[in-house]
Symmetry: C2
Subunit: 227 residues, 2 copies
Amino acid sequence: MNANSLTIEDAPHTVQSIHDTILERICLLDFHPGQQLKEADLATEFGVSRTPVRDALSRITHLNLIETRNGVGTVVKELPDQKIADVYTTRLELAPLIGTLSTTKITQVHLDKIQDLILRAKNLDDEKSSRSYVLINHELHQLLCDLISNSVLRSFWRQTYYQAASVWYRIADIAGEASILSLVNELTELQTALKNQDLIAVGHIQRIYIGYGYARIQQYLFDSKTK
Amino acid sequence: MNANSLTIEDAPHTVQSIHDTILERICLLDFHPGQQLKEADLATEFGVSRTPVRDALSRITHLNLIETRNGVGTVVKELPDQKIADVYTTRLELAPLIGTLSTTKITQVHLDKIQDLILRAKNLDDEKSSRSYVLINHELHQLLCDLISNSVLRSFWRQTYYQAASVWYRIADIAGEASILSLVNELTELQTALKNQDLIAVGHIQRIYIGYGYARIQQYLFDSKTK
DNA sequence: ACTTCTTAAGCTGTATACAGCTATACTGAT
DNA sequence: ATCAGTATAGCTGTATACAGCTTAAGAAGT
């Protein structure tokens, strides 16, 4: 359940593993926007000095997800509406490229994985399971990255995912049932496309459902500010 | 001529300025692929300790332009052909988005700049002026970035530029006249588009000339390996 | 001459001490 | 009671010492 804290003394934490852990926590909202991240605290948690932690944080800064100010601290950024719009607009354009730029062969492993995700998504409860909702999306993202053969596109797809994730998952908590239904439909359509070895379709499905997700964000987030 | 080394004691170097300087040197081939970058040397040159230099290098690592191995050193990466192909393929797709996702108003400053670049490009000599060729392209890139209003797209456009630049400029040394002629034509077409406030056209022009550049790379770089 | 082991040089990775910046709480005068 | 000024706590930024890894040169045995 909490693999990270259990491995403190098992495996020595590298800069990369610390980077990944912090990034994942930001995505999964364990570190929420506005929260202060203290280098010293993270260092003691991971059992290292501040040096590797600083290194990891420094890289995350490039994703525009945290901001470090001298003398003050490091805080998780609250993305302004315009930045969120930029991320989603770009993501909408990147999605179809997954199909046109990829030549990956879909294997049984992929099919098994999507089947697993569908089953878990169907068991989601409106209340209490927001964590599971997030995890399913997270694993779906990794599955899709595995299908993208162009390394640069994969990198960009990941970057926009990291930037979009925390906003998107916050909305899911509010939207509840609508988000869950949408996810089940998305997974089912993806399964069909994968069975047909149709990566072009995968790209377009992504494009469609990112559009739905963005619509929910505009509805629940942006609208609530203008009232 | 050598502004960087002159400012050693003028302004205190920040991590950001060190990062930018090293990155620019890699792009402009002052640091060529395969070259070893020693943290200690860079530190003494910039008049700081290894700590900020390490920070800067660590961020550049994420652009896949350098590689640091423990006990060995930091070397400028020689991108394999497949990676170059990935960069250019993605860049071809991003180019049209410059037009469709931007709403920037073109000002007289932009027009003056492109006029300046055209004059300088027309004065390029086949021999001896490869440095000027690189600088004109570099400034053109900054001009285009200034036109991209979507912050995420701008970031991605920059990233692909950094990754493509060193390969592209190495080819220009070989191709010589062909590259220069192509640049003059590109700048002239861009000037027309800018005068018409037509960012869509700007995007398509970029798309076209990136294609030409990639064709030259395939001709001079990839072909020479298969003989 | 050749192979193998040892050793040393040179680099990056990490820990730690300290300098510098910022926000806040507190003090004192008005 | 209010406000200006000051002291202080707590954070990040930097310098430095040292540990650990890698490579290559050289010595010793065959």
